[in-house]
Symmetry: C2
Subunit: 250 residues, 2 copies
DNA sequence: CGTCCGTTTGAGGATCATCAATGTCCGTGG
DNA sequence: CCACGGACATTGATGATCCTCAAACGGACG
């Protein structure tokens, strides 16, 4: 156990819903009205997870786990931004997804991690031992159902990404990415603003484009009057419906 | 209830593991040795599902459900091949995935189906009412855990597909598709043979390529001596390591 | 056996990857 | 606090690949 991490059960044993308890974010399976993702987990469930979890503060660029290593822990993002990527044989990398608050990651495949998880910004992660998590889930079907919802939600996001990658035009891909970022991590004070915490290279690896193509695509969107770039990490949507149209159009 | 479907509980109430019970296929979460998918679900679990399931024999080209319609049923493929696709605004279609025996599909998102499911070959599907399934899962955490494994497995497959779509060369995409088909639906008698139940157009819509590109890519693979095509629905791997190499390379 | 749909082949145009060079930002150290 | 170094990001030119359009071919089903 690293010096940066501490056990949660001992830190807040009597405060369900305390700031140091993990949570999940996903869309409901039932007939929900809005497409917005909501936070799952009751205070009691969060406390139950906290009992087996340890929290860790990871600095930027720190690697949480590496692909191919034995998977003993499952993680929940408690804040900050991380990336889950895969090193391909050719040397190029593909970012499978970006991780935000309340995201679940590190699900093992045959006992090993399929991707490498690395912090982009300083981040907080909850570490859940897989074996103990499995026990907790088996004892709490409702909690397990929440996990099922979460993974199902992830599956939909992955399918959306497949549609994105099916596009062949770089501006369209970038437009979909911006809309996705706006939906996933909206800025409460400024709905038109889109935070882009990751580097252009990260975006390129996520969109399966060259960094040059991302740059030119960004220019194209600006030229069409859809967005403006305050700086490299903050975009502003000028023509919301135009951007949505380009993103939706295939 | 259509005339083609019948309730299972009454058809085989005393035979757990009878041929008319649904099953799931997925990779284990724990440290498994092989990468092969195994059948999940104990006889008792299958019987429990059978109690709420109805089975239906669907002819080829029949649509099981349409995207955007209220999702009241979850499905399990009991045999045959189906496709789950999405109609895009531009009119083009994208096949999200092909469905084989023991595959789970029709998971609702906000109470509606995200894709359209259509039979490619005559197929058998088990229909599970979502509400009743949720009840059963809540009462059987182990069964629910199997579903969690299954959805997690689907998530990995979807990520693999994202990597596939990240490639820009048609022959590479087709090679990955052939390897995938060989792993997913292997022919027991002839490991070198690859059954391709779907049309070239379906393959094109799955790979996000034009039908012409698929045709030319197939020619390219043949020209390189990697595979041969007995006919349009049966390929034979000539150079296994060469094909694997092309599929893995990127 | 005929029709229709799916598939294959060919030519031209558009878009992105690659290579190379310049410009910009950030973090480090003085 | 400022200057510097290096990584990241942009811009330009060239080549390869796929999409589109169009036509001929083949097989599947009625």
């Amino acid at each position: 156990m690293s010096r940066r991490q501490q056990h949660l059960a001992s830190s807040h044993p009597l405060f369900p819903g305390a700031p140091d308890t993990p949570s999940l974010r996903a869309a409901a399976i039932g007939p929900g009205s809005t497409g917005a993702a909501v936070r799952l987990l009751t205070p009691a469930q969060r406390r139950r997870l906290a009992e087996i979890a340890s929290v860790e503060q990871v600095p930027a660029r720190s690697i949480v786990y590496r692909q191919g290593t034995p998977a003993t822990m499952v993680f929940v993002c408690g804040g900050g931004v991380l990336k889950s990527y895969r090193q391909l044989p050719s040397g190029t990398r593909r970012i499978a997804l970006f991780l935000f608050k309340d995201d679940l990651f590190g699900l093992p495949d045959h006992g090993t991690y399929m991707n490498t998880a690395q912090a982009i910004t300083p981040a907080r992660v909850y570490r859940l031992p897989v074996d103990e998590l499995a026990d907790v889930l088996r004892r709490d079907p409702d909690l397990e159902f929440q996990f099922l919802c979460k993974v199902t939600h992830e599956l939909r996001e992955s399918q959306r990404r497949s549609i994105l990658l099916g596009r062949r035009d770089a501006p369209g891909r970038l437009a979909m990415f911006l809309v996705m970022m706006q939906r996933t991590a909206p800025l409460p004070r400024d709905p038109a603003a889109v935070a882009i915490p990751m580097s252009r290279t990260d975006v390129a690896e996520f969109l399966a484009l060259s960094p040059e193509a991302v740059s030119r695509a960004a220019n194209a969107l600006v030229r069409r009057g859809l967005v403006r770039f305050e700086n490299r990490h903050l975009a502003r949507v000028v023509d919301r419906i135009g951007l949505q149209s380009l993103a939706s159009r295939l």
